[in-house]
Symmetry: C2
Subunit: 224 residues, 2 copies
DNA sequence: TCCATAATATGGACGGCGTACAGAAAGATG
DNA sequence: CATCTTTCTGTACGCCGTCCATATTATGGA
């Protein structure tokens, strides 16, 4: 697949597997997960649609490879620096994942569209478990806790992205809060007393601050 | 839309909006979110495909209505019984949501495919906030905590469903654990020491027991 | 009773999708 | 220069969401 060896005869390839993934990512960012199409990718790299099948056996395989590359672009950064406090490492990792997923919104649907069992997904979990073990958790507890964290991180981004029209450029965090606040203020207080009472807080669901608020509480619960 | 009044003239409708949603849900359960099609729904209820547009303006609207009805089928059960201890109510609600989502796997992608801002979604959050307030949280903390719980619940199901081939009938929990265990046992211990060491635990990621383990820890962290 | 009206149904079509199959192109090897 | 191998292209099939024009079938008024 990625072996540099082999292939000593035959017509040379017009593009590379990476170019195909580049085009897929471009389409993903431009129009969301639904806008990624074999035909669009082919047009962008300049080959016939069915020529894509020389590189990947199906559209699902393209998306799988894209997910793997995507996860690979996140790992191996600061949070493997075991000199740092473990909570700081975990927060850095969570924030970095979040930033990557927000930068390429639409990727979440792909991530959640199939099993995350590739090497980079495993490495990600390995990193999480390592930090949690450094926090004093026994191996099995660290394993369970790392899954809870994965659920929280991907779930938070999934809910956040679900609110966005992926065909448009995303509004600023401030604008999103304002829009949500305006909608919440139109709700009848009789039907949703607590929601309307805390509308100011609820409108900030998708902010980085709320993300960290939850992450901190969850880490507290996991440590005790 | 659902008003029983009106419509005193014109050709009578061949089916009902509910029948369309029934058919959509049937297709969802049979083949996953990708298998839900206007043409399939129309064939099932016995009308021409474009006749569906008399009831809903687009496929997206059908799915939106299906999501709303789906959330409505979950609410209003045991966890509004404020005589029960708040943690017990929350666990019951989380488990009920989980059971519903697992019974109709494929619905998760729909839920996460658009904003959950309908009446039933708001009511769900209202119930969560109420239970958390009964647990002693201040209103704004309860609002934030309820969002954390939503993230955990939907995230857990999303990750769980992502592992399943939605076109097949789901294997038992026991079989899924065994399958995952077998895969994990093939991993090189050098590359993933913690993953292989805790393979027995990791293979149980998708069990009800792990779901409750995480829920308990999260509630602990939210209460402190 | 007959007709205008209004709501709903259908037939057919358009453009787009993933992808299968047959055959043409293009470089390496003898 | 002929052959072999790999890749690319042309074409086609079946499915999709949705639009337009038209037919169907009830009601309300003359």
């Amino acid at each position: 697949m990625t072996t540099p060896t082999g292939r000593r005869t035959g017509r040379p390839r017009a593009v590379t597997e990476q170019a195909i993934l580049d085009a897929a990512l471009w389409q993903l960012d431009a129009g969301g997960a639904a806008a990624v199409s074999i035909r669009g990718i082919a047009a962008q790299v300049g080959i016939a649609p069915n020529a894509v099948y020389t590189y990947y056996p199906s559209k699902a395989a393209v998306l799988r490879a894209l997910v793997e590359r995507f996860l690979g672009d996140v790992n191996h950064d600061r949070f493997v620096d075991r000199e740092q406090p473990w909570r700081q490492r975990l927060e850095a990792l969570a924030l970095e994942l979040r930033a990557h997923l927000v930068a390429h919104r639409g990727a979440v649907q792909l991530l959640l569209g199939g099993p995350m069992d590739g090497p980079n997904a495993l490495t990600l979990r390995e990193s999480l478990s390592e930090a949690l073990a450094d926090g004093g958790l026994a191996p099995d507890d660290a394993a369970r806790a790392s899954y809870v964290l994965l659920v929280y991180i991907f779930g938070a981004i999934a809910l956040e992205v679900a609110e966005l029209d992926q065909r448009r450029i995303p509004p600023t965090e401030h604008d999103r809060v304002s829009t949500r606040r305006a909608v919440l203020d139109t709700l009848p207080a009789e039907a949703y007393p607590r929601t309307t009472e805390t509308a100011g807080t609820i409108s900030k669901d998708f902010t980085t601050e709320q993300f960290l608020w939850g992450l901190t509480r969850i880490l507290n619960g996991l440590q005790a």
